[in-house]
């Protein structure tokens, strides 16, 4: 599972999800909540690899996302690398053959990544930021289900 081939497939999945996120995520907005498909892809893929590769996967996601945001470049790269690394470190200890685990990890991972980002780059309205992070976490939980099954089939 941890071979070079599966790592290459995970990288491709994250890249494809990143493209889908940039092109379509804003069309999926519901009551101001928007999913982060690229981050969800990273969190789910990190479940299927070790900490070292998950950190690199996070680094790549951070570089791609930050190029499009155009600001807070360092904070985005560091938070994504951390998120990938932490979930990758959990890989030998968690039962990843269960979609519930993926959903839980996506919720916690998205929320903590948002909060960690806030620590690195404080935003004007804290309450609004927390509310946004919660909405995004819930939305990411929902989209993590199809992504989890896709990753499982492909890897």
């Amino acid at each position: 599972m941890k071979g070079a081939k599966s790592n290459l497939r995970l990288t491709l999945i994250v890249i494809v999800l990143f493209f889908l996120h940039e092109a379509y995520a804003s069309h999926l907005t519901i009551r101001g909540a928007q999913p982060n498909i690229a981050l969800t892809g990273l969190l789910v893929c990190s479940l299927f690899t070790d900490a070292t590769f998950a950190a690199w996967l996070g680094f790549m996601t951070g570089v791609l996302e930050s190029a499009y945001l155009g600001m807070y470049i360092g904070s985005l790269i560091v938070t994504r690398s951390l998120a990938g690394w932490i979930i990758g470190s959990m890989e030998p200890h968690v039962f990843r053959d269960n979609v519930i685990i993926a959903i839980g990890i996506c919720f916690l991972g998205t929320f903590l990544t948002g909060m960690c980002f806030y620590l690195f780059a404080p935003q004007a309205n804290t309450l609004l930021w927390v509310k946004g992070a919660l909405q995004e976490s819930i939305y990411n939980c929902v989209i993590s289900i199809p992504i989890y099954y896709i990753v499982k089939i492909v890897v």
């Binding site: 493209f19 995520a25 101001g32 928007q34 070292t52 791609l64 945001l69 155009g70 948002g114």
Partner: protein
């Protein structure tokens, strides 16, 4: 076995340390480049390589919406068409009247010796990504420094102001929307008997809030706000661009001030194309 596990664990830590150090380095590099009005080479390279793929995805979706959208919207389309036809006829009449007024105003201005501002050149651009990261009110458009876009260029849609460019790569530009908390625009009321001047600020919600408005300034619900050309935090918007409509005025007795909210004229979620003013 134990030693191998220990080595693996150490390698994991090194991976994290390298990623974090590289991340901080790239961030510092980007900030330095931005301060000099340049794009950092890494972000520019990522955008140059990836934006054509996103462009294709977006263009395909827009085309499918145009060609096959009627299948989904079918029943409501004829009602919409009738309403739009009526609106179009009314607008044609208004345009004819306004053109007449504009000719008069231009003649009077030239007779009085006012300096006439040259017409602004508009570059059309496609939206590649709206809110690339949720919670940030920014977007990426398909024109960059190769097309003459510069930081602080103003971005508009047919209905009003969208925002301004804050980061430019060779083939793309990042735009901060009016609704972002870091965005502000000098504004004034568009009413003959009130020219109250203020600043419209984004607050991360779909509405803008008004700041620095005089206590006795005449402002009402339904008033149209236009750019004053006087500054705001950025000072880049020319005068006369439509910002939005006042939708709520709340009196705060404790501070004797008014909380005024403006609904932007542009529906950011329905935008497909914008124009960059040059």
């Amino acid at each position: 076995m134990l030693l191998k596990e220990k080595n693996n664990h150490r390698n994991h830590w090194w991976a994290l340390i390298i990623c974090v150090a590289l991340g901080i380095g790239i961030g510092v590099w980007h900030n330095r480049a931005s301060r000099h009005g340049k794009a950092d080479p890494l972000s520019a390279a990522v955008l140059t390589v990836t934006s054509p793929i996103i462009h294709i995805l977006v263009a395909t979706t827009n085309w499918m919406n145009r060609e096959f959208g009627w299948i989904i919207q079918g029943p409501s389309l004829s009602r919409k068409y009738a309403a739009l036809r009526l609106q179009n006829e009314n607008l044609q009449a208004q345009i004819a009247q306004l053109q007449e007024d504009a000719i008069d105003a231009q003649r009077l201005k030239s007779e009085l010796g006012f300096a006439m501002s040259p017409p602004l050149h508009k570059i059309p651009a496609t939206i590649l990504s709206m809110r690339p990261i949720p919670n940030f009110q920014t977007m990426v458009i398909s024109r960059g420094s190769r097309d003459g876009v510069k930081p602080d260029s103003v971005v508009v849609a047919p209905l009003g102001v969208v925002g301004h460019v804050f980061d430019v790569a060779p083939t793309t530009s990042s735009v901060i929307l009016l609704t972002d908390p870091n965005s502000a625009i000098g504004a004034m009321v568009q009413r003959a008997n009130s020219r109250a001047v203020c600043i419209c600020k984004g607050n991360g919600t779909p509405l803008l809030s008004i700041a620095y408005l005089g206590p006795n300034a005449d402002i009402r619900i339904g008033d149209t706000m236009i750019s004053s050309g006087l500054g705001g935090a950025q000072g880049v918007y020319p005068k006369g661009l439509v910002i939005g409509t006042v939708v709520s005025i709340t009196n705060d007795p404790s501070t004797a001030s008014r909380q005024i909210l403006v609904k932007p004229a542009v529906d950011f979620d329905r935008l497909e194309e914008v124009y960059i003013l040059k």
